[in-house]
């Protein structure tokens, strides 16, 4: 190769390198931009309506100004609590079965397929299903029914992420545990699941954040409630439901509350996710991969 060709190729490589770097930076910006834009717009529209009343008062009757969304914030908390109690253990349990105990069996393949289909079921259909299974039986709309609808929606995400994270745990780690005379079930729970836990927690957080903003499955289950309620057996308000109703109302005051509610919803989700990350990352050791 002549010195000329060599120089030319070096220049081309430098150019390609810069071009690829520039493209990936552009892609990153495109990923982050919508989130930043949405958040900035919500702050712009909603922040001015945020005050102590928003967090402590329930909505005023239509046409009156003031009031807050305390009932919806509490309601969302209860609904998501019920949903997580249902969705996280079932999802993680299913994921453990798929990755560790049922691997390669026909039953496991059927479960995996079902989870994927469940993931694709429209959320409004989930609401209708829970309406006929829970609301009709209980003869009332309820926080419990709403939590069940959201919980079922969490299961497939949690289940499939758990499975994938467990499969990423190196075979050598499992062998190490078995080689110590640890029974298989104990090795799965104490070693494999523990090793995969950062990924599993991320999966749970994704599922949580996704259902936290769901409106449709709550329409026929939690229904909504203009008053403060903490009972599982009565209809309950939720932030996305309240936002939906206020955003559709003709009153400016309610529009402002809807914007503030959207801002609060996003902030609460970010806070919840960060809190779980912080709590679960404490005690992590230096150098652990």
């Amino acid at each position: 190769m002549s010195a000329e060709t060599f120089k030319f190729r070096t220049r081309m490589r430098t150019l390609t390198d810069s071009a690829v770097t520039a493209l990936s930076i552009l892609a990153t910006v495109l990923v982050v931009a919508p989130l930043v834009a949405i958040f900035a717009y919500l702050v712009f529209k909603g922040a001015s309506s945020l005050n102590l009343d928003f967090f402590t008062k329930i909505p005023k009757p239509e046409g009156e100004s003031g009031g807050g969304m305390a009932n919806a914030i509490v309601g969302s908390g209860i609904l998501l609590g019920v949903a997580s109690l249902l969705g996280v253990p079932i999802g993680i349990g299913g994921g453990i079965f798929l990755a560790e105990f049922g691997r390669g069996t026909k039953f496991a393949n059927a479960v995996r397929f079902t989870a994927d289909v469940l993931n694709g079921v429209p959320s409004i259909v989930m609401g209708l299903a829970v309406y006929s299974l829970v609301v009709v039986q209980q003869k009332t709309f309820s926080a419990f029914a709403g939590g069940v609808a959201l919980g079922i929606m969490m299961i497939p995400t949690v289940c499939r992420t758990t499975e994938e994270m467990l499969l990423m745990v190196p075979h050598a780690v499992r062998e190490a545990a078995l080689g110590l005379g640890v029974p298989n079930w104990r090795s799965v729970l104490s070693i494999t699941v523990k090793t995969a836990s950062p990924g599993i927690i991320t999966g749970c957080m994704l599922a949580f954040a996704r259902v936290a903003g769901e409106t449709a499955p709550l329409l026929f289950t939690a229904l909504g409630n203009s008053f403060m309620s903490t009972s599982l057996n009565h209809p309950i308000e939720a932030l996305p439901l309240q936002i939906y109703i206020f955003a559709n109302s003709p009153y400016d005051d309610q529009h402002r509350l809807a914007w503030a509610g959207s801002l609060v919803l996003i902030v609460l989700i970010v806070l919840a996710v960060s809190l779980v990350r912080y709590v679960t990352s404490r005690g992590v050791l230096k150098g652990a991969s």
Binding site: G104, P170, A172, V173, E175, A176, A177, L178, G179, L180, G181, V182, P183, R186, S187, S190, I191, K194, T195, S197, V284, L285, K286, G287, A288, S289
Partner: protein, 252 residues
Amino acid sequence: MGVGIEVKNLNAWYGTNHTLQDINLNIPANHATALIGPSGCGKSTFVRCLNRMHETNPIARVTGSVRIGDIDIYADAKPVQIRRRVGMVFQRPNPFPTMSIYDNVASGLKLNGYSNRRVLDEIVEKSLKNSALWDEVKDDLRKKSGASLSGGQQQRLCIARALAVDPEVLLMDEPASALDPVSTSKIEDLIFQLKSQYTIVIVTHNMQQAARVAEKTGFFLNGRMVEFDATHKIFTNPSDKRTEDYITGRFG
């Protein structure tokens, strides 16, 4: 203390692949025994049959008998009981990545339900001293993860972890093949010290290593054991032509 191992008519399969054929040998207690042979000759499968790790692969199958001390491990016991008496060190260091150095060493006991803190402390210290790692890690026992150590330190950590459950036999499947020469010589020194207390079986590709650490050496070829004898005899005056060809580098 270590115990002897008596292997009779051992056969092993992976699916339809007959990887071990009619292995018979007696491994003496409290000595190091080396197994050599080209890749794929069955020596790793053989040590994995000695603690019933072979059968963790769903397509694997074993026949024959293996006596460790006074127990026939295939007839008289469950795999988990055997593996507590027969420790194993793998080719690639495999500490538990989410556990501290201390927890890695204590893991075998803790996972089997042992929780007396004072006794665990003692066992962890003793095991790390026995694996010549104590001085390097004693200040970071709970602060650092096992995965943060260097490759050679990780392998000695894995040896400490195996020693902590107080086995009678220690199986080592190419324990130094992923390590640099300095770490390798540390592992070899360690084997030298440990064989007074444990029966050690070491698989190795490195014939000098076999010559340095082991009193007895077995040569495996194509799933059969060709020759088993005192190490100096194998390396200076083997009885089988194939052993001679292998150790003089004519094949494999």
